[in-house]
Symmetry: none
Subunit: 410 residues, 2 copies
């Protein structure tokens, strides 16, 4: 079975926005044994969307369309589907009530423009969207199953998970995906350690991807039964984990923050943070895991030096003689946060995130981190390249990883 | 004149790699007055590339292809161009010498596999690549000018600049893009206010998109000269801004944080934060703008109630009688942060980000925010749906927007 992924929007064809939906959808349909044949991106014109729909549905068995379902005049995907099906749009009263309720639950009133979102071509099925106002569509055009979802990535992902995935056939056998996340080595290094597994052909395929600062190993296992696919997957995952040892952070949805949080929860220990250049990112990352209040007490964002001094008790002389980005200041920040917030552990980060503020001695990308705990304080230094955003992301991951390794190896 | 952008590679169709070349090429061709009609991505098969080439060159006057020019067996774009042209590949001795020289200059010896890179279909022109080993191609297929460049982004960009740009006619005029970001109203509300502008056809097109919690208005202006395109764009942008008033946050790369920061910088005022459910996201957002240290002092992440009490001076009785997510606690947090961190302004956020922790009285999505300033404290409440991530994002944007509006309307 083949799929064509169709993205709609002038902001995409003009290059103002980079299309990330297509890559996501391609990866997801592959999990169902469906091969993504091509991605097409067209603008907001009704005619061009209808043409693309007609061509796609005669070239592939599955067509997934994202974008153009908004309430404004430039959103024409709904109308284009009607055109491709050769029928009119009709109002769905139940769907309209649902959209009105969506607004009411948020203390707002639905505008007249949103009415169009409750309309569907006759013969198409409306797909409920619980995270936004634009329902999706499911229709058969010729022999193809055509799914239409909103272009907003979070809504598109929700719709895939809850509306498309259950409708995709699993007749081709069972495919099980699993992803093992690692931190602490580059993609080529990780790849070298599992090269023979990656080069194997057969029912279990192994690949690596890099995303958000972590290297992940994807294992795709195909079997006649769920048990068979599962057993094969376990086998290879076990081998990958053995080879990668402490680099392995977790699997699937388990982030660095969740993996570290779980170790704290098991030990009934608490954590505090003290951040300078990351400005809250470390705290945000820790609290992105639901239930973080079990172990995370809170933190201080000590962006200005006087906050480092007054709240965290970092000595003014330490800042004067070593600079705010130094091993001494990082250690004092972590110790100060641990005392102030009365936690078992505290992590600190101070660095030069750029683009300005670098020097020969302390270039952009230099980050000092410290971990203060029951048995003293450890420090660590990294020097990463990249944008301000990447430097801050890697610093936060690295700081959390210090704690993860400490807890793991205790 | 229209263009189709064609990207080649199994790593793209499978979704392992997000295609950023198409967006870059689309923006660049638009500068030459050429409208990017569509982007197509196909895999590494010779047949499918040749088919896409044939279809693209009968649909647009300009076709730009990236990818599939490497030296390995899975690189088939060169062969596909030959197939589309109906002629053989021939070795170009001068080009071969150039590739050999490329390796020699780097102290390496050219491998036999690279020989294919010096081959071009008869009738096509080889385009020299000074930053890599894969030369590009220029050919006319039917009435279309077809350019083929390597897929490596840095090589693709060099080739566009040095080989494609000089060959593209500037006769068709100039296209100027601009984006105006708004916050505080939904897409349908924004769309209704500028509906007539969005429905206009002609040299200036207006559309809306939603990304990262903000609604943005895109203005695409086409003129015979740069001056004309600019004047038309100014005109429409002025009208959009008049109609949307204080909803307008900024243009282009200006984020909510940068726009608010700029207002603080102008006034030489400082800001502190006190965060509960956002756990550092608000601080992270503020400090994502380079130079935030001009106005951002720092903050307290008061995740545990005892941190709200001990650091921010929130009364234990306020938490006991109103709950941690309440107007009273939000106000006390902001006032406490303003005093503790000695800033002109302080913003606080306390809410139920979910997925757990909601109740009938205080459902998931309920967020209280407060802004403490020289003239007192204001509070605000929102109730958004969505995931934990979206609730936290919107809460942070909303809190910053309170300050932006306060500074703007002073």
């Amino acid at each position: 079975m083949n799929a064509i992924i169709l993205s709609i929007g002038n902001e995409l064809t003009s290059g103002q926005t980079v299309d990330t939906n297509s890559a996501y959808l391609a990866r997801r349909v592959a999990e169902f044994g469906i091969r993504p044949l091509a991605h097409w991106t067209v603008g907001d014109g009704r005619r061009e969307i209808a043409d693309a729909l007609a061509r796609a549905s005669s070239s592939a068995e599955v067509v997934i369309v994202s974008g153009g379902l908004g309430p404004t005049a430039d959103d024409q995907t709904r109308q284009a589907v009607a055109e491709a099906l050769g029928c009119e749009l009709e109002l769905d009263e139940r769907c309209l009530a649902g959209i009105e309720e969506f607004f009411r639950a948020r203390g707002r009133v639905m505008g007249a423009a949103n009415r169009i979102q409750a309309m569907a071509p006759r013969g198409a099925e409306l797909l409920e969207n619980k995270v936004g106002t634009a329902p999706g569509l499911y229709a058969r055009i010729g022999d193809a199953a055509v799914f239409v979802v909103p272009g907003v990535p979070s809504e598109m992902e929700w719709m895939f998970e809850h509306q498309i995935a259950p409708r995709l056939s699993r007749n081709e056998g069972v495919i099980i995906h699993r992803t093992i996340h690692t931190f602490g080595a580059g993609e080529s290094d990780v790849g070298t350690r599992i090269l023979d597994l990656m080069q194997r052909t057969g029912p279990v395929l192994v690949g690596t991807t890099v995303a958000a600062g972590m290297v992940s190993i994807r294992i795709i296992s195909r079997g006649k039964t769920s048990e068979q696919a599962q057993a094969q997957s376990e086998d290879v995952a076990g081998e990958v984990k053995r080879r990668l040892g402490e680099l392995v952070v977790g699997e699937g949805a388990v982030s660095m923050a969740a993996a570290t949080g779980e170790l704290l929860r098991e030990r009934r220990q608490t954590l505090a943070t003290a951040e300078s250049c990351t400005g809250g990112l470390l705290g945000q990352m820790i609290t992105s895991a639901p239930g973080a209040s079990d172990y995370y007490v809170g933190g201080v964002i000590s962006y200005a030096n006087r906050v480092k001094e007054q709240l965290l008790g970092v000595g003014a002389e330490a800042i004067a003689s070593h600079g705010a980005v130094s091993e001494e200041v990082a250690a004092a920040m972590a110790q100060g946060a641990r005392t102030l917030l009365a936690s078992d552990w505290a992590i600190s980060i101070t660095g030069v995130a750029g683009p300005g503020g670098g020097s020969t001695e302390k270039p952009v990308g230099l980050v000092w981190m410290a971990l203060a705990g029951p048995e003293g304080t450890k420090t660590s230094k990294t020097l990463w390249g990249g944008t301000r955003e990447i430097i801050r992301l890697r610093a936060s991951l690295n700081a959390l990883n210090m704690l993860r390794l400490e807890l793991r190896n205790q």
